[in-house]
Symmetry: C2
Subunit: 395 residues, 2 copies
């Protein structure tokens, strides 16, 4: 029983670092999540090295804990989201999702081609500009207690659409890069599968739960409503990956289904300690993945600045245009809410590196861009939303 | 992001299996934990194979989740235990701990020598008879809501002493087996270190917390009392391993320290969802580790029956004699409470296999014995305690 001391020490360091980072960020009037990501950077392999690269590689205990953490986070966000509320912003969310994919993809491809990549490689690089990481925005919205606001709902709805499109795009780009032709039939199949999954689970699941949540209350079973919805959350997270979507989409849908139960408030209360314990692992591990060493040269830093600027501006523009119907201020909030790329950009960059499309430097730049967008967004969003908190609100 | 689907599926299967197993056990009027362990057996590598052996090996994500689960379990048990209550049963607990180690070690060594092992190997085998796994008993006591009873406190106190002695014994036996002489000085040092750790943390920690828990309430910090005590729990679990004790001892002490705060009841409520989500991993993984295939022969089954009988009788006798001062009935409960070996026996058996002291069969027998004792205990304990629930109680 003495071989797990190392893992316990790592868990302890990681958890304490997240708390200290969060505390410092809040004293600097930044969202806690910025501090948690920065703490990850600080203790990660490229700075203090208290977490080593093998500690946080895919499939390690820390990586799985991080995954569970972000799944529970999106579950809890779903728990605060009713399907009816999402429907009301459906059109805007759709537009934001579509433009928020097309504009970054277009600008990203242009920049990459301009930097000397051929068109096919450029499209691969551009794909890394696309996918929004809903986890980081969701956490900031939750921290500020504004999940009920119109902008928040548009962002969450758009994140689902964004993920479906990004999945499709990655499919196209991977096929092209693999030298093959794009199998339109199979892509359409995948797309319809993903849309069908979200529609059936989101619409059907909430309807069933709305009618049938009485049975959750019956005392005949030792299974509490909490354990039942947690099982649902893990199950849908898995299923959503089978439909080529991120696990967090399934978790979000599970939370939305659970939000239709009568035990909704009890579930929210019970989920809070799970979040407090497990989500820090996600943010610290996200931060720890930045390889600061690859960014040591002036060239690399300039490239990073350009790439990050394109990533921010393109997503902001797409989101802003898509949400213009709710007014400029709201559209700006939505636009910034879509900016963070977080772990999704990291994953695409890893695929590119493995496929030999990217070299070490552009890999590091894209990973750093993903995380920079994740670190820039929370303070901006928090400023925009706090500023508006005193102003008029839309139900 | 698509490579973690397998892990999510495993988590889902494991979690659902634990709930189904627990539910079935309760309908059969058995403690839920028996069902969870049995579910682990059923889905484990040697039966259905839904969990493979590499899935649950040491250091894998599932193994770490299981470890976190049992740590949080013992933390929550500590949270329901006040130092003053433990002190009141100190003498009995000490006696139970000591006799509960000596009697099984003696009988185990005699049996092993009788079966043809030389004395030094016999002592190694006997060491696997010794260490009580407090996790399983603690869960049963918690499920039945009897953690406040005198017997429960004696068992918990004795489990700490038991762990210190078992650690010492394993040190002696390993040195002897390694062919070396026993370095008495270093063993005494280790022993004093472990006792010192428990005494300083248990006594000092609770005193500091009793005086100073006011600062936990101050709203100036975003760190909640929950995150602070969780950090304490991880930290002490690690430290306790550094003092050659099981991680759960440190977690138990952390819980006991937290039980001195004013936020005690709030913490108990917040810990419950963490337990609901994470402890099932411990019990299912424990069950999954039984290799049913090695027990296919009649010889092996007879050996298992004999070894299990010795393990149960010796621990029962030791515990009973030690606790006789509280009456026969109470002493019987304490005796049975000390019976489960659980994962500790498994660890010693693994060490024995690695050192070449055990062959595959005696390894499987000792692992199966450890888990059998873990499965036998809950129903017996539950019967004894339910039976007595209507009778007179001691504060």
């Amino acid at each position: 029983m003495h071989d797990s001391a190392g893992i316990l020490l790592t868990l302890f360091i990681l958890f304490v670092a997240s708390q200290v980072g969060g505390e410092i960020a809040q004293r600097l009037r930044l969202p806690a999540v910025v501090g948690e990501i920065a703490a990850g950077c600080a203790i990660g392999p490229s700075a203090l090295g208290w977490l080593s690269a093998p500690d946080i590689a895919a499939g390690t205990p820390l990586d799985v804990l991080a995954e569970i953490g972000v799944i529970l986070l999106l579950f809890s966000v779903g728990l605060e989201t009713r399907l009816d509320d999402l429907k009301r912003v459906g059109a805007s969310a759709f537009l934001v999702g579509v433009l928020g994919v097309l504009v970054p993809f277009g600008l990203g491809a242009l920049w990459a081609h301009g930097s000397g990549f051929d068109w096919i490689r450029s499209m691969f690089v551009a794909a890394a500009f696309v996918a929004t990481s809903a986890g980081i925005t969701a956490r900031v919205l939750q921290e500020l207690g504004v999940l009920q606001r119109q902008e928040a709902r548009i962002i969450l709805g758009a994140a689902v659409i964004d993920d479906i499109l990004a999945m499709l795009l990655l499919g196209v780009v991977s096929s092209l890069q693999g030298g093959g032709s794009v199998d339109v039939g199979s892509l359409v199949g995948t797309l319809l599968g993903a849309i069908g999954f979200v529609a059936v689970i989101g619409w059907g699941g909430t309807r069933i739960m709305r009618r049938g949540s009485g049975w959750l209350e019956k005392p005949r079973s030792r299974m509490s409503p909490l354990t039942i919805v947690l099982a649902l959350c893990l199950g849908l997270a898995f299923l959503s990956m089978k439909f080529h979507l991120a696990a967090i989409i399934g978790a979000f849908l599970a939370g939305m289904i659970a939000s239709e139960t009568r035990q909704r408030h009890q579930l929210e209360e019970q989920t809070a300690p799970l979040l407090a314990f497990l989500t820090p692992f996600f943010f610290v591990v996200t931060g720890a993945k930045v390889n600061l060493a690859e960014l040591g040269s002036v060239d690399a830093l300039i490239m990073l600045a350009v790439v990050t600027a394109i990533a921010v501006v393109s997503k902001l523009a797409g989101g802003f245009l898509g949400a213009l119907s709710i007014g400029r201020r709201g559209a700006t909030i939505v636009g910034f809410g879509m900016v963070p790329r977080g772990e999704v950009g990291v994953v695409i960059a890893s695929l590119g590196l493995a496929a030999g499309v990217f070299d070490e430097r552009i890999y590091a730049v894209i990973v750093a861009m993903s995380l920079l967008t994740a670190m820039i967004t929370p303070p901006v969003l928090s400023l925009l939303l706090r500023d508006r908190a005193s102003g008029p609100d839309t139900p």
